[in-house]
Amino acid sequence: MPHDGHDHDHTEPPSDVALRVKSLESLLIDKGLVDPAAIDALVDRYAHRVGPQNGKKVVARAWTDPEFKQRLLDDAREAVGEFDFKGRPGERLVAVENTPEVHNLVVCTLCSCYPWNVLGLPPVWYKSAPYRARAVSDPRGVLGEFGTELPDEVEVRVWDSTAEMRYLVVPERPTGTEGWSAEQLEKLITRNSMIGVEQAKSPADLEGGA
């Protein structure tokens, strides 16, 4: 803000790209194609209200409630609706469960399709070309970069998201958490573990402050 304190007779215009967005928005509002209140509500929702905290609740419930887990695996869209996290009509959500035999990894090779209703906005690396390409060509290499080493006999399944089909990984429940409440378990669940690039934290990770 080089003008602050010197020149108060005008307002510094935003960047060119911000002006383009503002212009498009005001044109669409003028033509009655979008409702400014709907735009504000979407911004508020994605900037503040949805995020991995939603997915954590879903996974912790699945870990503690076998009947819910079955409903989640049968039809994840309906099951997360129990938390009011249902996405847009027509978007299917599939929950894929990690087991000692199978590890699941989610990518969108085309762009950035992501289960927004349960994980919020995708992290920058999820949208990057190296991840989009290598999650498919070298999934174990990608997992290694996240510090996730799996035994050779574990099968790695890669799920390529689309606009209509999105995936949520249910990580394995860590050992040593018997008797933990859903609220305690939520602390072990990370966004990355629900994309499948990492495993859930262990109780020891929590103690170490990691």
Binding site: H3, D7, H8, D9, H10, T11, E12, P13, P14, S15, V17, A18, L19, R20, V21, K22, S23, L24, E25, S26, L27, L28, K31, L33, V34, D35, A38, I39, L42, V43, Y46, A47, G51, P52, R88, E91, L110, C111, S112, C113, G120, L121, P123, V124, W125, Y126, K127, S128, A129, Y131, E145, F146, G147, T162, A163, E164, T190, R191, N192, E198
Partner: protein, 105 residues
């Protein structure tokens, strides 16, 4: 690659506005989620071919390019109109005393 759970979704406000605009148009059925994903994927490929590093940092630039393209294709707003409107906004900013709300005349 980061392992931080708390990485912010939007770095700048215009990214949130562009994100919301595309989603509002999908919600209203102006275009489908699939049309949107195809166009966004296409803009990402195009930018990559033109030398964009495509590390995810420029993602919302591709998002905006896809949004402008679909709006033009659907006859909602043409590039010329957007450019003219942007100049009007720029003039409005420059004519508004600092601290006062900016609006078009």
């Amino acid at each position: 690659m980061t392992t931080d759970d708390a990485e912010p979704g939007f770095c700048e406000p215009w990214q949130a506005q562009a994100f919301a605009l595309a989603n509002a148009l999908i919600d209203q059925g102006v275009f489908t989620a699939d049309e949107w994903a195809q166009t966004l994927g296409d803009e990402i490929k195009r930018a990559q071919a033109a030398g964009d590093p495509d590390t995810g940092e420029t993602y919302y630039n591709h998002w905006l390019a896809a949004l402008e393209r679909l709006c033009a294709e659907k006859g909602l707003a043409q590039a010329g109109e957007i450019g003219t409107r942007a100049e009007e906004w720029r003039d409005a900013y420059l004519a508004t005393p600092h601290g006062k709300p900016v609006s078009l005349p």
